[in-house]
């Protein structure tokens, strides 16, 4: 069984190695993700579990955000936010805090990394806005809380996804998410969508939504819109694959996650 697992990892690694340009890399990773959906049925998924949680099983998509790049070129973050908003038909309520829908937005270091020390912050950190989005937690409290499975984790790639047609709008997931990553449609969002993207559904009022790691783009072999827009500031890929680009970045750089003490194990990493 161990053998089988190793073979699987090799496949995942090989395909990642084959793709050198970022889009190809993601394409193969996403393709792998689909293949991996069947893999646990072979039995090796269960075997991997028996060996403890350290053994990576399957694909786990993640993101590393390099704040050094964003600090040097803050406009990249604005570009990424605009890209996400346009691709996903996110309504614009003109800064109204009550109604706002946010998948990707910016906030200060103190707000984003609340449990880090901020007695004395470097100038760079003080003057730079940090991107905030859903962490696609490995152990997501939102999924645990949802009474209808309208929020669920895709075992094939680790993405925490949503079904807008099943969501009853109880907002239990919003109370459960320790990262404020979720937004609720307090009213019909459609009149507030500035530019329609016909390739992505709009939402109805009364449901929750959040960043979906661009699942729809991954399926087409494209990388997430924000990753594409911010020219290298964000690395995206499978962290369970030791040869992926993102694994190499994680091996090299010291990274931090938001609120690691809560046991959610976020899949969004920051290099500060």
């Amino acid at each position: 069984m161990d053998n089988q697992r190793r073979k699987f990892l090799k496949i995942a690694g090989a395909s990642a190695l084959a793709g050198i340009g970022a889009p190809t890399l993601v394409k193969l990773t996403a393709g792998d993700a689909l293949a991996a959906a069947k893999a646990p049925a072979d039995g090796h998924g269960a075997a991997a579990k028996d060996h403890g949680p350290e053994v990576p099983a399957g694909i786990r998509l993640a993101m590393v955000i390099d704040m050094r790049v964003i600090a040097a070129k803050p406009h990249l973050l604005d570009k990424a936010i605009t890209a996400c908003n346009e691709v996903h038909n996110i309504p614009d309520f003109g800064g109204d805090r009550k109604n706002e829908i946010k998948w990707l937005w910016k906030a200060s270091f103190e707000a984003v990394l609340t449990d880090k020390s901020y007695t004395r912050l470097s100038k760079m950190v003080q003057n730079t806005d940090f991107p905030v989005l859903c962490n696609h937690c490995e152990n997501p409290p939102c999924v645990r809380a949802c009474p209808t499975k309208a929020t669920f984790k895709l075992e094939k790639n680790g993405i925490v996804a949503m079904d807008y047609h099943r969501c009853i709008g109880c907002r239990f997931c919003m109370a459960a998410c320790p990262y404020g990553a979720r937004s609720f449609n307090w009213q019909d969002p459609r009149p507030f969508v500035k530019k329609y993207n016909n390739d992505f559904p709009t939402r109805m009022r009364g449901v929750v939504e959040k960043c979906n790691f661009c699942s729809e783009r991954l399926a087409l072999g494209q990388e997430p819109a924000c990753v594409e827009a911010c020219e290298g500031a964000i690395t995206f890929g499978d962290i369970n694959d030791p040869h992926s680009e993102i694994s190499k970045v994680l091996d090299k750089e010291f990274t931090i996650q938001r609120k690691p003490t809560l046991g959610t194990n976020p899949s969004v990493f920051y290099i500060v």
Binding site: R144, P147, G169, G180
Partner: protein
């Protein structure tokens, strides 16, 4: 027995019409909310639960409080509760109906509510809450009805019903425990992430439920010639005093943990509730006057209830003390507990919550519906009592 609700003095009809008026207001407000969306409320991205969920939480307690009559009567054979146990069971029915209405009012997509049943999700506490709430509602309807019918025929209730009566006792505890677990299992909401929430909920429930029952039985004595009996009332008052003191004790423990440990997450919500929380030069303190009113009401009413001269001598003062205690507990759990959980938000920003008029309309409408149902049920219970006496 339902025909009993159709005969009554003018005061009875005026009271029902009065409640009906608020129900109509509530219905109109809900229709507006239904057509526009929950944006009609004061809730926001940061404070994503408001009055509806907080009323739900409080009323689960009122429903569970009924067990403080059922348990002594059926388990300890405490005979003096004989006349009023039915009041506890019927109060539980009305309270649970209000809970379910508040949940429905709070859903963004109410037509999909059945998804909770169609896609049962055992890892969600809401799934268990649905089971125990509906189970408790069913048990109380069943037990109340069967026992009242037997009483009317002046025969002993059938033996099998006792199984359900006993079953309703753990159910009463479970509804409030599971409701506490909706909150206390959420990482990152420090105010709620406390193992004492469930016991605190139960303590406040066992004070609020009996307080309402004593208040109602004082009213029934005047308007319906139904006397619960001095001894029964005294016993309930004792239960209320101990439960309310336990609740205060638990609140005190929360304060100790927060302020002695100095851990900001444990302190912030308490600071916000009782003193006002400063953030970027602005002090947020909307709830401060409410919380101190609550504390004064709770301590004041306990003092009044615990003084024999005051309690025994004057029914008006007894009623006032019960009303104060009920209101104090309502502010504590039915306002502060839920709202403060969202302060500060996960990014340590503060958004305050102020309900809108429309939201208040829906809330009052649901309370009126609950009291409407309660009035009909109590009318039946009291009429049956009178029938037996004749």
């Amino acid at each position: 027995m339902i025909e009993k609700t159709l005969k009554g003095k003018p005061a009875y009809w005026i009271w029902l019409a009065f409640l009906g008026m608020f129900m109509a207001v509530g219905a109109v407000c809900y229709a507006r909310q239904y057509l526009f969306g929950l944006g009609m409320t004061g809730m926001s991205r940061d404070v994503s639960w408001g009055l509806y969920i907080s009323q739900f939480t409080f009323l689960v307690g009122v429903a569970a409080g009924g067990v403080m009559l059922v348990l002594p009567y059926y388990i300890h054979n405490f005979k003096v509760f004989g006349r009023i146990t039915i009041l506890g069971e019927f109060l539980a029915i009305a309270a649970i109906v209000m809970c379910l209405l508040f949940i429905m009012a709070d859903l963004g997509q109410p037509l999909r509510a059945l998804n909770v049943v169609l896609h049962p999700t055992p890892n969600s506490m809401l799934f268990y809450d649905m089971i125990v709430l509906n189970g408790y509602l069913f048990l109380n309807i069943l037990c109340g009805w069967v026992i009242l019918t037997a009483e009317r025929k002046q025969v002993k209730p059938p033996k099998w019903i006792y199984f359900f009566v006993y079953l309703s006792i753990p159910f009463a505890v479970s509804i409030h425990t599971v409701t506490a677990m909706l909150y206390c299992g959420l990482p990152g909401r420090h105010f709620w992430l406390s193992a004492i929430i469930a016991p605190r909920f139960l303590a406040s429930a066992f004070a609020a439920g009996p307080a309402l029952i004593v208040l109602i039985s004082l009213i029934l004595k005047r308007v319906a010639n139904f006397d619960a009996g001095k001894e029964a009332v005294n016993k309930l008052v004792t239960i209320m005093i101990y439960s309310a003191m336990l609740n205060l004790f638990f609140i005190g423990l929360e304060f100790f943990v927060g302020y002695y440990s100095g851990v900001p997450g444990h302190k912030h919500a308490l600071q916000y509730l009782f003193f006002g929380l400063e953030h970027h030069g602005h002090v947020y303190n909307n709830l401060v006057p409410f919380m101190w009113t609550s504390i004064i009401f709770m301590i004041g009413s306990i003092a009044m209830l615990a003084t024999p001269a005051i309690r025994k001598g004057n029914e008006f003062i007894l009623g006032l003390a019960c009303l104060m205690l009920f209101t104090g507990l309502w502010i504590d759990k039915g306002l502060g507990f839920v709202f403060a959980g969202f302060i500060p938000n996960p990014l340590h920003e503060i958004t305050e919550y102020i309900p809108t008029a429309n939201e208040l309309g829906v809330t009052i409408g649901i309370w009126a519906t609950g009291f409407f149902i309660l009035t009909l049920l109590y009318k039946i219970a009291v009429s049956v009592e009178h029938e037996i006496e004749e």
